[in-house]
């Protein structure tokens, strides 16, 4: 991933300010294009982040160890229907 993007939240914040700047207009053409390109990069980054992450249900025990949760929890109990 783009090393200039710190994390999701900062990407959104930057995207927001870019859009505002562009909407206000009055920029040099080069600046405007550069901002647009940056905006597209940020927007892609956000989309990718939204899609990634994987489902996991884990338990942190008293010794500070992380173990997978029992299937009854992780997969859900159909009796609750």
């Amino acid at each position: 991933m783009d090393p200039t993007i710190k994390d999701f939240e900062s990407a959104i914040a930057e995207l927001e300010s870019i859009v505002k700047t562009l909407e206000d207009g009055d920029l040099a053409l080069e600046k405007s294009l550069a901002l647009f390109e940056r905006g597209v990069t940020l927007s892609r980054f956000c989309h990718t982040k939204l899609e990634e992450a994987e489902r996991r249900v884990e338990i942190l025990n008293e010794r500070g160890e992380i173990k997978p949760a029992p299937p009854s929890l992780a997969e859900g109990d159909d009796r609750t229907r």
Binding site: E9, I12, L22, F36, G39, R56, L60, L73
Partner: protein, 466 residues
């Protein structure tokens, strides 16, 4: 009741009549005090007393000294640390309480006091009072400040959950997450949520779970119950643990109508555990649509920006003066280009012609005679070409005419031009010299005559110089 009506154990049980000449029974102060103490402690081994607390002071030993009073009287009171521990609320001045204890005498000072074992607020339940007291205190300490409430993260890498492993709360939360956020990662830190150790357990769990990298939000949850059941979430240590969490905490304790201290401290209060899960997911949904909107605005802004520039150019270009200028500019450009082209091809042609001429002449014209002129010509041609190029760079339309003039002059200098005018050059037989005099040839000699477009081989019929 008069204290001295009570007979002392060691008092002789003689009839009162004999007291007329009383046998003097003299006590020491200690004996008397000790006697009083015994009498009182026997008589008031366990009493309930109702009154208002005043002069309340907790010493650093943990014992609390205070006075209980009503409209007419007061009694000194003490509550030792061991008993204080079990108090849910904090006794304070002005509080109307019911206390249970025994009356005792502090012999060194001859003071009697009630040693309280237990105390509850009068009228209000102890828990309710404790709740109000803690709420007031934490509010004053700034634990509920709106300004410190943090927004939920859009994409928690891990959703932390602190609750009982076998409670309905956990199942409800997981169910919502399964449905609404199928790829979420969840970390559960089990904790007892009811009973004596619950508060300590929940506090520890909170501290532990936020140390795990990636836990960006924590739900602390418990199903519904009585105030006693939910009590852990009204304790200061849980409130402090929530307050000290470095990430946002959602409190989801009890049902919608149950309010706990934890709810006030948490960044967000969920009416139910399911609702807490919905909140976490909603934050993501929010961000999804926010990105969509931003993306749309980004593209719209870029389009608008381009359109604006296009319009600006168009407006400028269509102003009359500028339009004329523009047209003139275009014409100039075209004109210059044309001139350049013409000039180039004219020059190319001229040079080629010259080169052809030069090649033809080189062998045939007498070197000494023409070489110098050719060299000079070449030099001049070179200089002229250079000047022409320079001139072209500066003003092409002028260069054109200049070139034509120069080309004309070059033309005049060319031997070919002389031949072109009808003159011929006559060479001797072995082409080593030009025949300049009729005397140099005799009848029968072969000569070569060079014309503008070729050569004639001739034999001399007769030679004469007229």
């Amino acid at each position: 009741m008069d204290l001295f009506d009570i007979p002392f154990e060691d008092e002789p049980a003689e009839p009162a009549a004999q007291a007329r000449i009383p046998e003097r029974r003299i006590y020491t102060v200690s004996e008397l005090t000790s006697g009083i103490r015994g009498a009182i402690e026997d008589r008031f081994a366990e009493v309930w007393v109702e009154g208002e607390i005043s002069n309340c002071k907790v010493w650093n030993t943990g014992h609390m000294y205070f006075t209980l009073k009503d409209g007419a009287s007061q009694i000194k009171a003490v509550m030792f640390r061991s008993a204080m521990r079990y108090l849910k609320f904090k006794p304070e001045d002005g509080l109307h309480v019911v206390a249970r204890g025994r009356v005792s005498v502090y012999e060194p000072k001859g003071e009697y006091q009630i040693v309280c074992e237990h105390m509850e607020p009068h009228g209000l339940g102890a828990l309710q009072l404790a709740f109000e007291q803690l709420k007031k205190k934490l509010q004053a300490d700034g634990l509920f400040d709106r300004a410190r409430k943090r927004p939920l993260p859009a994409l928690p890498r891990r959703i932390g959950i602190v609750t009982s492993l076998d409670g309905a709360a956990l199942r409800d939360i997981l169910k919502v997450l399964r449905r609404r956020a199928p790829n979420a990662s969840v970390l559960i830190r089990p904790a007892r949520v009811q009973g004596e150790d619950a508060a300590a357990d929940v506090a520890t769990a909170l501290r532990m779970i936020v140390k795990v990298p990636g836990v960006d939000v924590v739900i602390v949850a418990r199903g519904g119950g009585s105030m006693e059941d939910l009590w852990a979430f009204n304790e200061e240590r849980v409130a402090k643990a929530i307050f000290n969490c470095p990430v946002p905490v959602i409190s989801a304790v009890g049902h919608e109508t149950d309010v706990t201290i934890a709810d006030f401290v948490a960044d967000l209060r969920a009416p139910t555990p399911s609702a807490a899960a919905e909140m976490v997911v909603a934050a993501k949904d929010d961000f999804c649509s926010r990105i969509e909107r931003l993306n749309g605005r980004l593209r719209a802004a870029a389009r608008a920006d381009l359109q604006r520039r296009r319009n600006a150019v168009h407006v400028l270009a269509s102003r009359r003066g500028l339009a004329g200028f523009h047209a003139r500019l275009a014409m100039r450009g075209r004109h210059a280009a044309e001139l350049t082209h013409q000039f180039r091809s004219a020059m190319r042609q001229a040079i080629e012609t010259r080169a052809r001429g030069y090649r033809a002449l080189r062998q045939r014209l007498e070197q000494r005679d023409l070489a110098r002129r050719l060299a000079a010509m070449k030099g001049r041609l070179h200089v002229a070409s250079g000047r022409l190029e320079g001139a072209a760079g500066r003003a092409r339309h002028r260069a054109d005419s200049r070139f034509r003039a120069l080309a004309g002059r070059l033309e005049n200098l060319s031997p070919l031009a002389v031949l072109g005018r009808g003159y011929a050059v006559c060479w001797n037989g072995d082409r080593t010299a030009i025949v300049r005099s009729a005397n140099t040839v005799t009848a029968g000699d072969r000569v070569h005559v060079t014309l503008a477009d070729g050569e004639i081989n001739c034999r001399v019929e007769n030679g004469s110089n007229n």
